[in-house]
Structures are given as structure tokens and as C-alpha cells.
Symmetry: C2
Subunit: 335 residues, 2 copies
Amino acid sequence: MQKVATNAVKTMTDDAIVEKLDVKQISSTAKTKFCIADLGCSIGPNTFIAVQNIIDVVQQKYQSQGLATHMPEFQVFFNDHASNDFNTLFASLPPKRLYFATGVPGSFYGRLFPESSLQLVHSSYALQWLSKVPEELLNKNSTAWNKGRVHYTNAPDEVAHAYTTQFAKDMTIFLEARAKELVLGGIMVLIMPGIPNGIPHSSVPGGVMFDFLGLSLMDMAKEGLISEAQVDSFNLPVYAASPKEMTQLVERNGCFVIEKMEMTCPRSRVDGPVSAQALTMHLRAGMEGVISKHFGVEIIDELFDRFRKKHDEFSSFLESKYEEATQLFIALKRI
Amino acid sequence: MQKVATNAVKTMTDDAIVEKLDVKQISSTAKTKFCIADLGCSIGPNTFIAVQNIIDVVQQKYQSQGLATHMPEFQVFFNDHASNDFNTLFASLPPKRLYFATGVPGSFYGRLFPESSLQLVHSSYALQWLSKVPEELLNKNSTAWNKGRVHYTNAPDEVAHAYTTQFAKDMTIFLEARAKELVLGGIMVLIMPGIPNGIPHSSVPGGVMFDFLGLSLMDMAKEGLISEAQVDSFNLPVYAASPKEMTQLVERNGCFVIEKMEMTCPRSRVDGPVSAQALTMHLRAGMEGVISKHFGVEIIDELFDRFRKKHDEFSSFLESKYEEATQLFIALKRI
């Protein structure tokens, strides 16, 4: 499904580079190299596809501007947490790649690169991960205590508000770090789950998945397979931002101009509905890590089996949701 | 033992940086960052110690020249083969490091970095590894067929010559790649096993270890634990160069000036003799990978047990060898 998202945003990414990257400005500062960072790269192959696409477009741009003889060498920085499986990433690097590959371990909610050392930053489906679960959610005395749920979907406003505040804190740090690291004129392309302006966060369409996940966990708690306290103290640190709040955060940072900010549908209409199996696998791939860390690996099979069955019950409801625009595409330029 | 080597060459590395690094020249090209590559870093901790030492000395140099306000940010590229355990390397990075860390998978016998992107290259005990075993050694019709041995120690001249030729090819590629990658004025510090000028390669003092290893393997072949053909087709791709041949290779490359080229003793006299156990562990750590790839992991314990016993037999002979200068220290400057 992330592959589909990659294809769907390819044209938009291409356009952002073709229209907004000033290769003359870039090449006057960078001279011989063009550095690209993919933040939250995981273990591939999506990161390799995205990076190769970026390089193709940048090369075309140099050629179309008569700068073929000034073609830079490309250095790509693949970033993810230090716990990411970089061994697998490195083993699966395309053997005939025309770039110098490096891995960068660490959280992108902080500095990862020297000042003015990057020409282009790309991040796809990584910025929905908060740096941590908002603390209020775990406090029984707080109005944001998130009892019986694992996310802000269908939760009281206070819960969603706690998430919004945490996201704003994280994104502020993210933008400050990237503003330092990108050269003037550098481009940043961000693709992440989003929510249209004006919809309450507690009603985010994609969140219905997390709702079902919470319900499946509560079913297991009622049957004594896990404890209710375990569910109460578990929250998914994922968030979908609206264009409006991202615009505010970018403007408050002040170092970037917004070249594009758009809600898109992550799937093309011709793809048809997603099967319960595919959705379950997708969700499991993304969430297995945080869930097994909290509940133990032994509940995972059972949990996602229940989730898949719940999906079957509500499939027509879910299908209507999937046609909605749930993907936020952002292209920023460092000024 | 590699830790010991690191300590022994610290002063020489410091001197090379203090005396030969022109920080004014470097900072005019690099401006805000200082990039260091450690080639053949393995999984630490020696690489972290070496890199921190380099950064300390560079910082002192900036300060002593009144350039404290121009202090660059440091970016360190840890390089080793893609099969190196980068996950372990990244997990053991010093948490309070004052540099941006990256991992670079790939052979240093080829380009790894963009043009003019490094200020300093460091490599300790990695360049003794050839890119491959010289092919003639495996050819029964060649005078360099290395029957019954695993190295050129005590072998016919043709065998040593095949190694020398392979080393020259590899080092030529290494120097060409690094000449591209280092900025003008950039420093390269290489520490590797060496052999004094004028000694035949087949008599390299450190090679006696490989001789014993070959004898241990032949003993096992005679007892039918492995086949003799397996021993005949196995050769360690390691080589110790002399200052004279390194000087010739550097001069032929023409992009570096030799700031220092010196044979040193890897161990200080006060350290006392190395125990059979320590030597066996050291050799095993370095060679286990290539040996088990050829013979299978199941022979490893038996082989090194036999090696340790052989060491006991010849311990007085070995001790006299250990006092010799077997370490080559090289400091080059990119011109």
C-alpha cells in the first residue's frame, strides 16, 4: 500500500523538483555533489524507488538547463531510528545505483546532518509517528486519560488536543532541524497521512482502523487474554495533521516557503477496494513493533486475526472511507 | 590487541594532524563542516576511540589558531563492507558524541564518497585485506600454486610475488579513489601491518601465525577432518607491505605528499609477552570469517585449539618476533 502511495505522489514530487528546484542556485553552493536525505527510510524497497525517482528528475533538470557538464555526484543519506535494520537496508541497496549510499541512525526530531549540507529532503509516511505518546493520556487524573482506547479516534476532544500539542512540538523541532541542514533553495518533500481542514481530529477517516484495533484489544481484555489496564496505558503515537495546522507550523518556523500543500487520495480509483487481508497486513507491518513492545509478541497473531474479522463486519463502511483524500503532500523550499 | 595498536599510534596520528593539517586552507573550502571517514571500521569500539581522538586534535588546532569561532560541525562516515554488522555499530555509537554519524557500506577498493567531500581519512588495520586472493595461487599449472599453505609465508617467491602484484593493484585503486574524495590539503592516516624494507615477503615476522595456521589445517587434513584439496584451494587474502613499496605506490599515484612513513612496534615494551590465548583470540577474531566461509564453521573450534597448542610449542621463537617493528604508520596529505 505504501508502494501505491509512492506511485500516486510521484508526479507531484517530480513537479515540485522540476518547477521549484533552482539548480543554478544549488550548484553554485554545492559544486560537485547533490545530497539527498530520505527520513524514515525503513529497510526498502520504497526508499530506493523514491530516491531513484528524485535523482532521475534532478538529472533531467540539469540537462534541460544546459548544465549537463556540471552534473553533480549524488550522495544519498538513508535515515531511520538506530534500531532500524540497516543491515537489511544495506544488503538490498540496488547494485547498479548511481549514487553514494550512506545510512544515518537517529530520530529526525533532532539534528542529523551538518549545517547546509543537504540539497533535498524526502520523507514518506514517517512524520505521522510522534516522538512519544502525549503524557496526559496516561494520567488517570487528566481529562485526556484515554481509557479503553488506543488512539484519539472517537475519543474526547482533550485526547485529540493532547496529540495535536505533541505533534506541534515535534514538527517545530523537525522544521528547525531541517532548516539548518538544507541549503538555501533546497527542497523538502513530505508525504504523510493527513486530514482535510475543518474535520475534527477525532473523526479522521483513517483512524477507524485504530478504532477497530482498540476494540479488538478491549475484546481480548474482556476475555482475560490481556488486562484492561494494559489497554488503558497503551496509545498509538501516530497522528494525521491537516493542511491548516501544517501551514501554521511552517509559517511559524519562517525558514520555508510552501510550494505545495495538498490533500490527495493515496489510492487511485482504478485500484478497487482494499481486501481485509491486505489492510490487516499493512496495519500489522506498521504497528506490530509498538504493540508487541507493550503487550508482548504472543498476542499479535490473535489480535490481527480479530482485527481482520472486524474489518469484514464493517467492510462497506470502510470502503466509503478509503475513497477519501487521506494523504497530505507538502513541498517546501528553504528560503 | 587492536586497542593497543590504537594507543601506540595515537601520538603519531595527533602529530600528523597538528603539524600537517592546514585548517585555514581546509576551512576556506569546507566552511561549516569537517568530514572524517574511518575505512574498515568494523563494529567498534576502536573506531569510536580513533574518531574521537581525531576530532579532539582538530578542535585543538582550530582553537590554537584563533579559529574557535569558525569551529566546524563534524560528520563522521563509518565505512566497512555491506556485510559488516552496522546494526551493532549504530547501537553502540557513543550517546554523547559531538558529531553526526553515518554508515557507509561498500569496499574501499572503489569510490565511496563524492568528489572533494572529505577532510580526513583514517584507516586502521584494514588495508592488509586484499580485495581478493590472487588467482594464480589456485592454478595447479602455475608456479604460484600454493599447495599445502594458506599464505605466502615460507612459500616460493612466485607466491609472494602474486600477493605483491594484487596488493599493488588494490592500493592503486584505493589511492585513486581517495585522491578524488579528499579535498586539497586533506589528510589520510593509514595504519596497517607492515614489513621492514629489505626483508623477503616470505619471511614477514607476523606471517609465522599464518604458517602455524596452515600447518594446523594440514594436520587436520592428514587426519581426514578436512581434505587436502580444501587446504590447497584456501589462501588468506592478507598482506603486509613495506615502506618502500608503499612509497612507490603513493609516488606513482602522484596526488599525495608523504608526511610520514614509518615502521613501528605495535606493542610497547612494558606490555610484556602476548599469551597464546590472547594471540589465538586475536587471530580468530580476524580470520574466523574467511576460514569458516571456506571450510565451514564446524572446524573452527578444533582449528584454533590446535593453533594455540602449536603456539605453546614455539612460544620462545614467537616472542622474539613480537618485539619487531611490524606496524606501518603512514600520513599522507592531498596536494
